[in-house]
């Protein structure tokens, strides 16, 4: 009886929580001894969105995910998953998680590991068979379903972990560096899986430092460094500027310094790349270079990549 009552309450609050974002954090801090891993993480991930959480190594990406899943306790601050406070068991019924450090029982078969996760999730026993068959199919392990995990390569174990995260059609899936052990084919498969989740309305929280991966699948991105979000927005907002590459000779260092009024410059001798420049200002730039005695050979505007933007953000952060 008590359990029924509990489930009814869960159903009611789940309806109430349906309008809430998939992930919300307010000023989340985490310190390990003297090391600050998160310094006031504030962000919101709407439902059904593929959210890229980007940052250099050690920026606090994995710490953030572990805090959200209740594996670590925050030093201060608050967070909600699917409308429930972090640490709440109920929210974890509707979540999938592929850890960065993925490891599964080597003495079990792939299908047994998935059955274990069905049992812990918990999913109705009648659905296990179909669930397991479907995710094995999705991650390409159908042929190896009965083999012991101990005989799997790292890539196959990561596929298995991804499969476990997909069980039971979760509302939110955390993928922490999901392609770290995968070959190019595997990476392509993961992108397809993420697109499939998005099509189904599942929110995906993708931790990655692989910018091309994020650029290809994410609706929105947050860039995190030193435990704080330094930029957040849709891909278009974030990549608004245009980079312009100029090949010019005859410029002294002092001349180049004057050109800083056109924004950050990636200086490679004769090749100058202006990281974010309004296309309207390109003629002014060329005129100034010529006025300073420079000789212009090539002016090539190009769409800014996430990598350009990412490096620029980190550099601005250093200043």
């Amino acid at each position: 009886m008590a359990q029924v009552a509990e489930e009814e309450t869960a159903a009611v609050s789940s309806e109430a929580a349906a309008g809430s974002p998939a992930v919300k954090t307010v000023d989340l801090h985490k310190r390990f001894g003297g090391t600050v891993a998160l310094a006031g993480l504030t962000m919101t991930v709407p439902r059904g969105e593929v959210f890229g959480f980007l940052g250099p190594n050690g920026a606090g990406k994995t710490t953030a995910v572990k805090l959200l899943l209740g594996l670590l306790t925050p030093t201060s601050g608050e967070g909600w998953l699917l409308g429930r406070r972090i640490g709440d068991l109920g929210a974890r019924r509707r979540i999938g998680y592929l850890p960065e450090l993925f490891r599964y029982q080597s003495w079990l078969s792939a299908a047994e590991v998935l059955a274990l996760h069905c049992e812990l999730a918990p999913l109705p026993r009648a659905s296990w068979k179909d669930e397991i068959r479907n995710v094995l199919e999705t991650v390409g392990l159908t042929e190896r379903a009965g083999d012991k995990v101990g005989t799997f390569s790292k890539g196959m174990q990561q596929r298995l972990g991804l499969g476990a995260a997909l069980l039971g059609e979760p509302e939110l899936v955390f993928l922490d560096e999901p392609t770290s052990a995968l070959d190019p084919v595997g990476r392509h498969d993961v992108r397809e899986i993420i697109r499939g989740l998005a099509a189904r309305g599942t929110a995906v929280f993708l931790n990655s430092h692989l910018l091309s991966e994020v650029e290809q699948v994410c609706d929105r991105v947050a860039v995190v460094d030193h435990g704080r979000v330094i930029a957040e927005g849709s891909m278009d907002e974030l990549l608004g500027g245009t980079a312009v590459r100029v090949r010019a000779t005859g410029l002294a260092q002092a001349d180049k310094n004057k050109l800083l009024s056109f924004g950050r410059i990636d200086d490679e001798g004769d090749q100058l790349t202006f990281a974010s420049l309004d296309p309207e200002r390109v003629p002014d730039l060329v005129a100034q270079i010529v006025a300073m005695g420079g000789r212009v050979y090539e002016v090539a505007p190009r769409h800014q990549t996430l990598e350009d933007r990412f490096l620029q953000l980190l550099e601005d952060e250093e200043k």
Partner: protein
């Protein structure tokens, strides 16, 4: 109908021991030891006095009971040692390897992980103690016709000693690495045994300070106190009566017991288990994974 998480984890613990062939290894080793000891016990019945007459039955019983105490000491040692070595890495190794990450992200409480692992390993300890104890007693009975006065208590005390080491190992495993936890549990077990001997010497010499060492160690880690219960269950009445006539000097022997463990001690053991489990849960609950 799905199992509650703690039973899933208990089942997984048993499954691991079985799949990793720990159970098979213990089964084979036990059968080998029981087989050899049956042969040895059988030799006692063929011993003769200097005049060529066979030993009278009460002497056979006495010799058998003493030899049985030594053999059971080995069994209980193997059990305690295995429990400590298996429990030491039970949680810590799965935290270090990352195995627990995906499981704890499910709606599973930390307490359920601790209780599940304890239950799974406790079942193994109990089954092993029951199986090895029964096999050994059957073999001795077959070889000599002797059965200790309290065979069921004997097995219960041996199993309880294994559970003590398992609980200590698991508690340490919530915070320390597997090797460290296992080694500490092992050293604690040996120290408790030696402290018990020191306490006996204290009783023999009527030295209160030394006697207290034994009492305190039995409270901190009840493994030796339980072992004394196992010994008492194996001693024929004639031996106990003979030792009692020796007074306090008769007690100064780690392989002898003149009295059964007091009821207060047995109640304390139950409390001890509860305290250690609660501490394990509290410790694991605040552990950062």
């Amino acid at each position: 109908m799905t199992l509650p998480p703690f039973l899933v984890i208990a089942r997984l613990t048993i499954q691991e021991a079985s799949r990793r062939r720990l159970l098979l290894a213990l089964l084979i080793l036990t059968l080998v030891v029981v087989g050899f000891s049956a042969w040895g016990f059988n030799k006692i019945t063929t011993l003769t006095r200097s005049n060529g007459e066979p030993l009278p039955p009460d002497q056979v019983a006495l010799l058998t009971s003493q030899l049985l105490i030594v053999v059971v000491f080995m069994f209980s040692g193997v059990l305690a040692l295995s429990a400590a070595v298996v429990a030491g890495p039970l949680i810590s190794s799965e935290v270090e390897s990352g195995l627990l990450l995906s499981m704890l992200a499910r709606p599973v409480r930390r307490s359920e992980v601790v209780i599940g692992k304890w239950l799974g390993l406790a079942a193994l300890v109990a089954i092993y103690a029951g199986f090895a104890g029964t096999a050994q007693l059957v073999a001795v009975d077959w070889a000599t016709g002797y059965l200790p006065p309290q065979p069921v208590q004997l097995i219960l005390f041996v199993a309880a000693q294994g559970l003590v080491l398992l609980s200590l190992g698991l508690l340490l495993s919530t915070r320390l690495s597997g090797i460290t936890a296992g080694v500490i549990a092992l050293v604690a077990w040996l120290m408790a045994w030696i402290a018990g001997v020191v306490g006996d010497v204290g009783t023999g010499l009527q030295n209160q300070a030394l006697e207290n060492v034994g009492v305190v160690s039995h409270l901190l880690l009840p493994s030796d106190g339980l072992w004394r219960g196992a010994i008492y269950a194996m001693e024929p009445d004639t031996l106990i009566a003979a030792m009692k006539t020796l007074g306090t000097a008769g007690r100064a022997n780690p392989f002898a017991a003149t009295d059964p463990p007091p009821t207060e001690f047995l109640l304390w053991v139950l409390v001890w288990f509860a305290i250690v489990l609660v501490l394990s849960i509290a410790s694991f609950r605040t552990r950062e994974i």
